[in-house]
């Protein structure tokens, strides 16, 4: 069987339209040579197998938490990344042209950038109109004259290229600010290699590792004073950013600490990372924050994403940023028509890759042309406006809109560029189980290697949702593809896994190796620990109470009521969902407790409710997502999904709710267990566990106060004690240890004083004491710090107390117990505040002074 006949069955829907160049089929309708081996392997698998693998890929991406955030997306925060299993193929000969063309272009752009912030000869020699530079918001006058170490100013570059109807590859966009997509390209390759290794067989697919190795060297190379092992951090705007997944992914892959603006500070003209152990100097910043947001002192004044004084630290030569501040001046379609001349002037070369024909309206002749041909052109501003779409397809405008646009152009001619419309080539794509043509745009990434530039031998391809659509954008729901650079002749099978392992096995940044934890990360891990235990505790107690209510319904006995009432009230205290069962209409609520219970479970707006805690937990987990292993991440995603499904089916019976709780508890236990194994950084685990121990202690005290302080008759007291023990999974323990009827002194002994019971207070405090004394010192060496004093007092108080004395009655209450618990609570609850003040350092805010 030949490749063509084998592939014929699933390519039956595929035909070029003639309107575009087709990547797969030549003019003769036959498969182009570099696709033949691919579809041979594809044919061997069979379409149905590929489609089932497609499900695997979707699951894998979802479980790994690969997302692309859509700002203002009503359906949710994170949109799952979509990957089409059919890659975009580029043969080796063509790749050589693309590669040399892009290297030439980035070399040229680097020279232009240096000139713009240096001598400005291009402007003086009229190779570049002054308006294109001076009136572009990316031209940061504050950066004038700054030159970082290293051969190149421009470290990263990404280009969008597309194939026009003439079969040539054209450059459509230059990205120089903080180009995104390289992490998604890597993740796509990982997913493909894992799910569809067969498709790589017989093809020499170029590896991506060369790019990432060069990237590491490039960043080392620009470090101030040529440090050999500089501290490199990735600066992210935070979890709300559309490509946050990529920031954390690259952070894990490259071993660079992921930081937000307020993790850094400038002191003595140096940049410092605020860590749990104090300040650590930062040498190089890989920035994913737009340049004007990087420094509220000198750039955008109201930015909360930057570091005050950062630009001055750069000016002083004490830190380097890639790409340097000010490089967004090159994201300027107005430059396009001038690049040919500049290339001749600076390099003495012709451009290898053509750019889209462009007319800058700042020149009278060009403006006249644009005004005359506006309906056949795409009109853009010279800079990207983050709020509105930047490209206007002249052909889609009404005559009134055309008039308005013309007026705008005439008012500010220098602001506008018009470009020829390009119909991008179509390429085979898997759409709804069929292989169909879709238009594709290929993004390639280049990085300085200090001699020249290294291009990623691959990249990110995005395709249109519909054939013939002009605008390709993730925000508009496009689909991504892996891009393979291949040679047509069969060759050695590529070991993709090995390739990528090699890169990630490079030495770790000392910060990540465990020496120091950014304080912001520490804070999030601390809260992950607290929320995890809070959810676990609440879920277990809710389950106990709900089981009791279910049984109570069955028995219909009046005797049961006092203990049920008391438990429902305890539940309100325990979960902090006031007024709840303590409200004025509590009696009414208790007639049918399910309404209130369901609300506490599922209402996301209910303060203290389980759903709300879960979303707070997810937010904290997501903010430090580079700390979780793939397994942990899968557990988190699964938990989130199943809970969301449970919320939707609130109409289900009580058993459904109990199942949902069981499920949640199991997942949370798995989450905590996995972290113990997988968080490699010692301090990270300590912070998370400190949060857990604090939360467990506080919850236990709250529960004991709510159930053991008032004196009930023996039957009720017995049932309460039983509920407390069972919700703490200590009932079996109790029976085994005391072999006795439940009684207060013994219950207190087990829950407060037994060092062998992992749920006892003494057990928590023991660990807390050890953790807190291991935190980096802030005061004099011989002095106890405040948190140490607090835990020591609490621990001593517990150790000096006696179960029998605490159980002595005082009127209608166990007043000794109450006093003890309340004092204990106030000591422990102060600890998080002290830790926050001393280690998280967010007590003071950043203010503008004018």
């Amino acid at each position: 069987m030949t490749a063509t006949t084998q592939s014929g069955s699933f390519l039956q829907h595929y035909s070029g339209t003639g309107a575009f160049y087709d990547e797969l089929l030549g003019a003769d309708g036959q498969l182009r040579p570099h696709w033949q081996t691919f579809f041979q392997s594809f044919g061997k698998l069979g379409l149905s197998e590929v489609l089932s693998r497609n499900q695997d890929v979707l699951r894998l991406l979802k479980e790994n938490g690969v997302t692309y955030n859509i700002y203002s997306d009503p359906t949710g925060f994170n949109r799952p990344w979509s990957l089409d299993l059919i890659p975009f193929l580029i043969n080796r000969e063509e790749w050589q042209t693309i590669e040399s063309g892009l290297v030439q272009r980035v070399t040229l752009l680097d020279l232009v950038l240096k000139d713009i912030y240096g001598e400005q000869k291009l402007i003086k020699n009229r190779l570049l109109p002054a308006e294109l530079v001076y009136n572009h918001p990316g031209f940061l006058r504050q950066c004038m004259g700054i030159r970082q170490p290293g051969k190149h100013s421009l470290i990263f570059y990404a280009a969008d290229i597309g194939r026009s109807t003439d079969g040539r590859m054209w450059i459509v966009n230059d990205r120089t600010q903080a180009p995104s997509g390289s992490g998604y390209a890597l993740e796509n390759r990982m997913a493909m290699a894992r799910i569809l290794p067969e498709l790589f067989s017989g093809l020499k697919v170029r590896r991506l590792s060369g790019y990432f190795n060069a990237l590491r060297n490039a960043l080392t190379e620009i470090a101030p004073s040529r440090k050999e092992t500089p501290r490199i951090v990735i600066l992210t705007p935070g979890p709300g950013n559309e490509t946050y997944f990529e920031h954390s992914y690259l952070s894990s892959f490259l071993g660079f600490t992921l930081v937000q603006g307020n993790d850094l500070m400038v002191k003595d003209n140096f940049v410092w990372l605020k860590t749990l152990g104090g300040l650590e100097r930062v040498d190089v910043i890989l920035r994913r924050v737009d340049d004007i947001y990087c420094d509220p002192l000198e750039l955008k004044e109201d930015s909360q994403l930057g570091v005050p004084g950062l630009l001055h630290a750069v000016r002083a030569g004490n830190v380097s940023i890639a790409n340097p501040l000010g490089s967004s001046i090159l994201e300027n379609p107005g430059l396009m028509p001038f690049m040919e001349n500049i290339a001749r002037h600076l390099l003495g070369e012709e451009l290898i890759l053509p750019t889209v024909a462009s007319w800058w309206c700042g020149q009278p002749k060009e403006m006249d042309y644009v005004l005359e041909h506006i309906s056949s052109l795409v009109v853009k501003r010279i800079y990207r406006n983050p709020t509105t779409s930047t490209s206007i397809d002249g052909g889609t405008l009404s005559s009134k809109q055309v008039q308005e646009l013309k007026l705008q152009i005439k008012a500010h001619p220098w602001l506008y560029v018009a470009q020829e419309k390009i119909h991008f080539s179509s390429t085979p794509s898997l759409v709804d189980g069929k292989i169909e043509p879709r238009n594709a745009l290929f993004r390639n990434f280049l990085v300085s290697n200090n001699e020249g530039y290294t291009a990623m031998a691959g990249g990110l391809t995005r395709t249109t949702a519909d054939l013939g659509a002009f605008i390709i954008s993730n925000q508009l729901g496009g689909v991504s593809k892996d891009a393979w650079i291949i040679s047509p002749e069969p060759g050695r099978v590529l070991n993709v896994h090995k390739d990528l392992e090699k890169t990630s096995a490079l030495p770790m940044d000392p910060v990540r190796a465990g020496a120091a934890l950014p304080s912001h990360t520490a804070e999030n891990l601390f809260w992950v620990g607290r929320y995890a235990e809070r959810i676990l505790g609440n879920a277990r107690f809710l389950r106990t109470v709900m089981q009791l209510v279910v049984e109570g319904n069955r028995r219909q006995s009046e005797d049961e009521l006092p203990s049920e009432e008391c438990l429902l009230q305890a539940l309100t205290c325990y979960t902090y969902t006031y007024p709840g069962f303590l409200a004025d209409d509590a009696r009414q609520k208790m007639q049918d407790p399910w309404k209130e219970l369901t609300d506490v479970l599922f209402n996301e707006k209910r303060t203290g409710g389980l759903s709300q805690n879960l979303s707070l937990f997810n937010r904290a987990v997501y903010a430090v997502r580079d700390h979780w292993s793939a397994d942990t991440w899968r557990v988190v995603r699964g938990m989130e999904e199943r809970w969301a499904a449970a919320i939707v089916s609130t109409q289900g019976g009580h058993l459904r709710k109990l199942h949902a709780l069981d499920d949640l508890i199991t997942s949370m236990v798995a989450f905590i267990g996995l972290n113990r194994e997988s968080i490699s950084r010692e301090q990270g685990w300590i912070m998370l566990d400190t949060g857990r121990k604090i939360e467990q202690s506080l919850l236990l005290i709250t529960l004991l106060r709510a159930t053991m302080v008032y004196r009930f008759d023996d039957q009720v007291a017995y049932e309460l004690q039983e509920a407390v023990l069972s919700s703490h999974e200590s009932l079996v323990n109790y029976r085994y240890k005391y072999r006795a009827h439940l009684q207060l002194p013994l219950v207190l002994d087990l829950m407060l004083f037994d060092p062998n019971n992992p749920r006892s207070l003494v057990y928590q405090l023991d660990r807390l004491k050890a953790y807190l004394s291991n935190l980096p010192r802030t005061g004099a060496p011989h002095q106890l710090s405040e948190h140490e004093r607090l835990i020591l007092e609490a621990y001593t108080m517990l150790k000096l107390s006696d179960k029998d004395q605490l159980s002595l009655p005082g009127g209608s209450e166990n007043s000794a117990l109450d006093a003890f618990l309340s004092k204990m609570y106030s000591l422990l609850v102060a600890i998080p505040d002290v830790i926050s003040k001393n280690y998280f350092k967010h007590a003071q805010a950043q203010f503008q002074q004018a």
Partner: protein
């Protein structure tokens, strides 16, 4: 003429400040008509970091940081400026070039006045709203020289707008100014600049001081002067010509420039970022005195 200038800035914070970064543009630069003999800067508390440099426009900039807890900040600049008298020959032949001709030259891309080009585009503080563009029209009648048009604009702003401190702040937009018809020197300078830019012509923002003289026989009180602002236009082959719409005069010896930019934001006397738990109060006093030889 020789001037001694004392410019004091005081920030009083409501809570302790653990760290502050500041950028100050308080030292007058040299120009064709003034020379800064010397300038002394006193900062209290003493800053751990202090660097001086020139910005893109050639203005003198000072960056400083105070890295230990403090509750107030005082910055005093003492400068001595020698002011040269205006020679009568400044308005030369080119001063009569029509504004349309200036505009044509500057868009032609064949001129060498690349620096001036950046002062044509509107900025956040000089947005060309329709009211502003309409206001400009009356001064820019066809065929008039750019110089004359700008002079006329200065006079009209002086006539049509009332000088009233406290009515506007530095963030009041031009639309408010056009409605309220009152403001201070920054507002009038920004308005004039926006009007000129509305016509596609270059204008820049001037920051500095103006000497005030007490009525004859009265002794001058100290600290009564203020920071001042005015504007300048660019006429090819002639250079930058200044106008003061607040006082309806062409600046002469009594105007001392600190520097210039596209608008206030480029040449703000002081700005900073503090780490603190609260707000602050600002006090400024300026004293401009003639030194009699």
């Amino acid at each position: 003429m020789l001037y001694k200038i004392i410019h004091k800035t005081v920030y009083a914070y409501s809570g302790p400040v653990s760290l502050c970064h500041n950028i100050a543009r308080l030292v007058p630069r040299d120009t064709a008509r003034q020379h800064c003999r010397h300038a002394r800067i006193l900062i209290d508390p003493y800053p751990e970091v202090l660097t001086e440099y020139e910005d893109f426009f050639g203005n003198k900039v000072m960056y400083f940081a105070i890295q230990r807890e403090h509750r107030d900040l005082r910055v005093t600049v003492l400068s001595e400026i020698e002011k040269m008298a205006r020679s009568g020959t400044e308005i030369n032949l080119y001063g009569h070039v029509a504004w349309e001709e200036v505009r044509r030259q500057l868009v032609s891309q064949s001129h060498t006045f690349t620096d001036a080009v950046q002062y044509i585009a509107e900025t956040p503080m000089t947005t060309v709203i329709p009211e502003v563009a309409a206001y400009a029209q009356a001064s820019f009648i066809p065929g008039r020289s750019f110089y004359e048009a700008a002079h006329d604009l200065m006079q009209r702003i002086y006539r049509d707008f009332k000088f009233q401190p406290g009515f506007t702040t530095i963030s009041t937009p031009l639309s408010e100014l056009m409605k309220g018809r009152r403001g201070v020197c920054q507002d009038f300078a920004h308005l004039a600049i926006a009007c000129i830019r509305a016509m596609g012509l270059p204008a820049r923002y001037m920051s500095g001081y103006l000497e005030t003289l007490p009525p004859p026989g009265v002794e001058k009180l100290s600290g009564v002067d203020a920071s001042h602002a005015w504007f300048a236009i660019f006429i090819p082959d002639m250079g930058w010509m200044e106008f003061d719409p607040t006082n309806n005069q062409v600046p002469g010896e009594q105007h001392i420039a600190i520097g210039w930019g596209r608008d206030y934001a480029d040449i703000a006397p002081m700005k900073g970022v503090i780490l603190s738990s609260g707000t602050h109060q600002l006090g400024v006093s300026v004293d401009v005195r003639r030194v009699h030889a």
